[in-house]
């Protein structure tokens, strides 16, 4: 073979080898790229900043892709190498959160405030599916019943003649395709239901989701009615001349009734027996009193405003054993927060978003009126002992401030769901078990929340604050 003949062959060999190498490198590169992309939960991959995207997306309606997988919100994360703490589960304003189990896996259902569509998201991946496309606009609040198969949507309308506000309450059942929630499903379901009476002032669903209780104004005050969710059978169980109640229905049909709070007004909390029609007083004359009862109904969290300091506490109907056999029904917790920022877990454990108020003279009213917002850190509370454990400060972890509302714990107790009041987005907080365990050997008795954070090595963490808007 002459050199002239061999040269093109060499060139071909070189080109072929180069091509193969190029393809291999390309494949390896693509493999690494996709591998890294799948492993995104431990890194912040979004261009332009995670929170910029979240804020910019706040007004986008991702539900336009009806029946398809909704683009995953970009999960916020801790820095590279650390465990994931927070994941954003929705980019639109949401309300109403419940967990459902399908084929052994836990999903989260929520409602979009703009159109009343129901979505389902995997809290571990953020993968979201739209479940319904029945439009009920401008939802103010949603409550779940019947294990996540029924939802109560509350919205505001105007009377056609007087122009006055009318509160509408729609009790609906989810009608879903059989394959909904599976990875291949592209069908979408709907809501089928009926309206409860207009102008229901307050409503509560029992923890087991089987019944709801609502308050309706009457000429003399207010009436209270229990509705069985499956049969829609309604029964009036309360007539009260006093109407400013916040109700919480228990599984046994009793209702916890707490007076609506104001920072400088003494509040009361009663257990109302709907059969005997009797009030049993639980908490009395606590300024700014708000409560949140545990699913079992025997214990509740409460907060009171004492000289502009907000204090959390636990009330137990059986009582806590004290020194010399003295039984006390109340036990203080060294956290400044409201019970509605706390989620009951298994047994006596509670996870709370808590703040450090610089001036709390108007709490909770000013927060309800939207005149102030909180920057919450996350805490674990053992209500048996009142011991608290610092879990995370999102300002330190992901440079984001959360104002926690609608908290809920997934049944495994390791994930807390909440809606950020600032923009209505839904988030998952993964409890850092290592931090919680590390506190076991440290005596934190008598320390303030800020001191405990210092002890646990968070001294440099930005102080959680209260932001007054005026």
């Amino acid at each position: 073979m002459s050199d002239e003949q061999q040269q093109p062959r060499n060139t071909k060999k070189i080109l072929l080898t180069g091509g193969v190498v190029f393809v291999v490198v390309l494949l390896i590169g693509l493999g690494i790229y996709f591998f890294m992309k799948r492993g995104a939960p431990t890194t912040t991959t979004t261009t332009g900043g995670v929170f910029g995207v979240a804020e910019n997306n706040a007004n986008k309606n991702t539900s336009t892709n009806v029946g398809e997988k909704v683009p995953e919100p970009d999960g916020a994360s801790a820095t590279q190498g650390e465990a994931l703490l927070f994941r954003q589960l929705s980019t639109i304003p949401t309300t109403g959160v419940i967990t459902v189990t399908q084929q052994g896996k836990t999903f989260v259902r929520y409602v979009s405030r703009e159109k009343g569509f129901v979505f389902q998201v995997d809290p571990q991946t953020g993968e979201t599916t739209q479940l319904t496309n029945t439009t009920i606009p401008r939802i103010h609040e949603a409550l779940w019943a019947a294990g996540g198969n029924a939802v109560i949507l509350r919205s505001l309308a105007q009377d056609a003649i007087t122009g006055a506000d009318v509160i509408k309450t729609y009790l609906a059942y989810l009608t879903l395709p059989a394959t909904v929630g599976t990875s291949t499903d592209s069908a979408v379901g709907s809501l089928r239901g009926s309206y409860l009476p207009d102008n229901i002032t307050a409503i509560s669903v029992a923890p087991n989701g089987n019944a709801l209780f609502y308050l309706l104004p009457t000429p003399d005050g207010v009436s209270g009615t229990i509705v069985t969710v499956n049969t829609k059978v309604a029964k009036e169980v309360l007539r009260s001349t006093f109407s400013e109640w916040t109700p919480e229905l228990l599984n046994n049909g009793s209702v916890m009734l707490t007076t609506k709070p104001s920072a400088k007004i003494p509040g009361f909390s009663y257990l109302y027996d709907t059969n005997a029609k009797t009030f049993t007083k639980l908490l009395r004359e606590k300024n700014g009193l708000t409560t949140h009862v545990a699913p079992a109904g025997t214990r509740l969290l409460y907060s009171e405003n004492i000289s502009a300091n907000l204090l959390l506490g636990t009330y137990d109907r059986k009582g806590f054993a004290g020194d010399e056999g003295i039984i006390s029904h109340e036990s203080g917790i060294s956290l400044a927060t409201l019970p509605e920022k706390c989620a009951w877990g298994k047994g006596a454990l509670v996870v709370c978003g808590a703040f450090t108020p610089t001036q709390g003279s108007g709490i909770p009213d000013e927060w309800y009126r939207g005149e102030m917002s909180f920057s919450d850190s996350f805490w674990l509370v053992n209500t048996n002992t009142s011991e608290i454990k610092f879990l995370a400060d999102p300002v330190e972890a992901i440079k984001k401030q959360f104002d926690v509302t609608s908290p809920a714990l997934i049944s495994d107790g390791n994930t807390m769901l909440f809606i950020d009041k600032n923009d209505g987005t839904l988030w998952a907080f993964y409890l850092p078990s290592d931090k919680a365990q590390n506190t076991d050997n440290i005596d934190l008795t008598g320390l303030s929340p800020e001191e405990i954070k210092d002890v646990l090595g968070s001294a440099s963490a930005p102080t959680s604050t209260v932001k007054k808007k005026k």
Partner: protein, 341 residues
């Protein structure tokens, strides 16, 4: 005939004299009942009093004997609780004990043996009743508001009593009520009258509302008095958006928008609801320097953009209730329209 008239006149005079003779006794009997309602077992000149006069459950109670006619200091006095001898001695006119739980009666018997050898028995029952007084101002708060409506000047406040004597009788309609305003009766009374209406006073001032609750035909009495302070009304602006409606979650202190207009809702917290519903409030709205015409709909105020270039507008609002002239509030916010491309 004359004798007949004389006899008749004598009978009339005798009858009148008899009535006059009885009258003081009637008055005295009524007075006795009033002064120590159902606490004195029988008429005598030794009084028995408790401090507080209507003790609540699990409260310490001081019981004192007094007399202007009997020398108690030299008498042997024996105290019994539920028939059990608890204390005795010469001149033991004071006894301290605790009431039981709600609905749990305690019988106190006292036997007084004077140095003249006379034995006098007294009895009192401590049947504590607990009374909670709840109130709600008839003032405006927006739908879904989780906080309490607060009273403003001359607004109506509805009072409700929740008495508890025992678990089965805590139905409020089973009790008799006497309401007082600033310790003066006349705020309402009657069997089953568990609620009444009063008017709030000046901002930063308070009214005192009291109630005495009793179980008719028994010795059970409970009282409670509370103080209610008034506040100034509050005005807040909230943004109305087409997709979300009114965003009550956040007051609008200022807004930046590229759109052609901004829609707001004003919420007049704590104005009297009756005057609000009857459209009796007077609104004075200024957008920039322009005062808006009469007929403002506070539920939807439109702030229009005047030019495509950027501009900032100050919106100020003053609301007054002409029925209660001090019931007023003012607020200001700003809207910045960013330049349109």
């Amino acid at each position: 005939m004359l004798a007949y008239y004389r006899r008749t006149l004598q009978q009339i005079i005798t009858g009148v004299l008899f009535l006059f003779a009885l009258a003081p006794l009637s008055v005295f009997a009524a007075t006795t009942v009033d002064l120590t309602p159902a606490k004195t077992a029988s008429f005598n000149l030794i009084s028995i009093k408790t401090v507080p006069s209507t003790p609540g459950p699990n409260e310490p109670v001081t019981i004192t004997l007094k007399s202007f006619s009997t020398d108690l200091s030299s008498s042997k006095i024996t105290w019994y609780i539920n028939k059990n001898l608890t204390k005795e001695g010469i001149g033991e006119t004071t006894f301290i004990t605790n009431t039981g739980n709600t609905g749990e009666s305690i019988d106190i018997d006292v036997v007084i043996l004077t140095n003249q050898g006379e034995e006098i028995k007294k009895h009192i029952t401590l049947a504590p009743m607990e009374v909670d007084v709840l109130w709600e101002a008839q003032t405006y708060t927006p739908p879904f508001y989780k906080g309490k409506a607060l009273p403003s000047y001359q607004s109506i406040v509805k009072m409700s009593a929740i008495p508890r004597h025992n678990a089965t009788s805590s139905n409020p309609l089973a009790f008799a009520y006497k309401w007082t305003l600033d310790r003066t009766s006349g705020a309402g009374e009657g069997f089953g009258k568990s609620s009444t209406l009063v008017r709030a006073t000046w901002p930063d001032s308070a009214i005192n509302v009291g109630v005495e609750v009793s179980v008719p035909g028994t010795e059970v009495v409970g009282t409670k008095e509370i103080s209610i302070s008034s506040v100034d009304p509050i005005l807040n602006f909230y943004q109305n958006t087409p997709l979300l409606g009114t965003r009550f979650d956040h007051t609008m202190l200022g807004a930046n928008t590229p759109s052609g207009q901004l829609n707001l809702r004003v919420v007049p917290y704590f104005f009297s609801t009756d005057n609000l519903k009857n459209n009796e409030l007077v609104y004075e709205l200024k957008i920039g320097n322009a005062t808006t015409p009469i007929g403002l709909n506070p539920m939807n105020i439109t702030v229009p953009r005047m030019s495509p270039s950027g501009e900032t507008k100050t919106i100020s609002l003053h609301i007054q209730n002409p029925k209660h002239i001090i019931q007023e509030a003012a607020a200001t916010t700003q809207v910045t329209f960013t330049p349109q491309q």
